[in-house]
Assembly symmetry: C2
Homo-oligomer: 306 residues x 2
């Protein structure tokens, strides 16, 4: 039985064309809304046309959304359709960014980038380092996978100490400061909640080794910025790389911009350009699964709304 | 049977103390030269005292040297002893530097490091990229191991096309330009010979994609510097990160220092600080093997002199 899939709307050519190519390369047939059993939504910024589209697409049972979170489509979710989204797709680039940031500050690449002449050797290995990761979500999962050949000793700090796959050690939040005290590298990959806001304050920095490095790809609010500035200035910790800041964007003339042991990237761990490639891989895999009657990836729990 | 190991000379405290700790943590007994069956040489810069040391150490059968190459000890090598050195120990940090440099330029970290304000998103993933590596030695071996979770398509270019373990594809030097033409990232990890000098010239850059990135951790002479400057300036390639340059050190005021799509590090892929930690791991492993009567790592071929 040949599956019939529609790609809609055609308002974002890069995504629309990529999705059409995916369907054309699959065993499915690409059809208009009226004849479709499945719908690949091809423009994340154009959800306003959904109601009239679905009115035409009476036979659709599966809808693939382009988002990691489905907030923009919340009003449209229903129990009549099977919804999938890009859950988990964007974790790997963020994990890659963590390693890029860590290598940059640990190997002094950010300072060499600023230099205009040949300077002295500085730098330590990530290889074999003690890495403590705050948070046990998709980013941490992807990070532990990428780090596997690095022979690091990894500790994951999460709300409950339920062991995380591929982590050397999993400890509860109550042991945060102990887990910080042994780390050569501390990675923040948490969601921002009341409990985690300001979790990296002067007490946390004091718990860290003065040779310890901080990477934040969670949210700016996890770090008390003034405490970090002081820790960087006094050498309480070795340095920090931040893809997220508080406030964000970080104002021009903020002291962090000019500190030699600090690297700021403007919330770009996963850019739209990076994202599209990965989204295409996910959608192609789901189209393959749909044609083969296999379970789809990224199923949305409509009741829960995510 | 308890093995008796000497650590000598005591002229470089960091290494001497580390080696003593290794023996003390092992099943072996730490003894003076007179009683030793094995000798851990603890100062790479002090080989002049070897003859008088070995005169006292009549029972020694195994000597562990701290070098990757044994040139400084060549005059002392003999067939009466089993010699091991730090062969292969330093490849992993260089491979790590390759990934640090690649992530830095591909994710624009070097330019964000230079910025004094929040700027626009720029960057591509190393994840899933086509990586072409020139050279099939220890660095490439270590690089392919570190890259394994990145889902890259890897091509190794070597003199003969004998397949390299963990490489997607291995091709002979005659296919260099074809292997360059598909690469998102080109890594130079060659030894410098007559054949490889200037191998990356304007013709090679023309063969690369204009979205392709270059990382050089081989020798500066592999790249024709003026051709690279032109390729960077005209956008023939996307950018370059160089740990080695020609001339080296790169003179102040050289144009490469100020190019936005270029990152220079001062030949620091493996620093002495990084090296000691890795050497310690190797020596600890060899002490363990010696005590367990297992084959030692890094055996020196005394006749061949390496």
């Amino acid at each position: 039985m040949i599956r019939r899939i529609a790609v809609y709307p055609n308002t974002r050519p890069a995504m629309y064309d990529a999705y059409c190519d995916i369907v054309d390369a699959s065993p499915a047939e690409r059809v208009g809304l009226e004849d479709a059993e499945a719908l690949l939504w091809a423009d994340p910024l154009n959800h306003g046309v959904y109601p009239e589209a679905i009115d035409q697409a009476r036979d659709v049972d599966w809808i693939q959304l382009p988002y990691a979170g489905v907030e923009p489509f919340l009003a449209h979710l229903d129990q009549e359709h099977t919804w999938t989204c890009a859950k988990g797709v964007y974790a790997a680039p963020v994990a890659e960014h963590v390693i890029g940031l860590a290598l940059s500050i640990m190997r002094n690449l950010h300072e060499y980038a600023r230099a205009d002449r040949w300077t002295a050797p500085v730098g330590v290995n990530l290889l074999g380092a003690n890495v403590t990761v705050l948070g046990a979500g998709g980013i941490t999962e992807a990070l532990l996978r990428l780090l596997a050949p690095w022979d690091c000793s990894t500790t994951v700090v999460r709300r409950q100490a339920e062991p995380m796959e591929n982590a050397g050690l999993t400890v509860p939040s109550s042991e945060l400061h102990r887990a910080l005290s042994t780390a050569d590298l501390v990675v923040v990959a948490l969601a921002l909640t009341d409990e985690t806001t300001g979790i990296l304050d002067s007490a946390a920095f004091a718990a860290m080794k003065n040779t310890g490095w901080l990477v934040n790809v969670g949210r700016g609010g996890h770090v008390v910025t003034d405490d970090l500035v002081e820790a960087l200035q006094t050498g309480t910790i070795a340095g920090a790389a931040l893809d997220v800041t508080d406030p964000e964007p970080l104002p021009q003339n903020h002291r962090l911009w000019s500190m030699p042991n600090c690297l700021i990237t403007p919330h770009i761990a996963n850019t739209p350009e990076m994202g599209l490639v990965l989204l295409e891989q996910r959608v192609a895999e789901n189209v393959r699964r749909y044609c083969a009657d296999e379970p789809l990836l990224g199923l949305v729990d409509v009741k829960a709304g995510y």
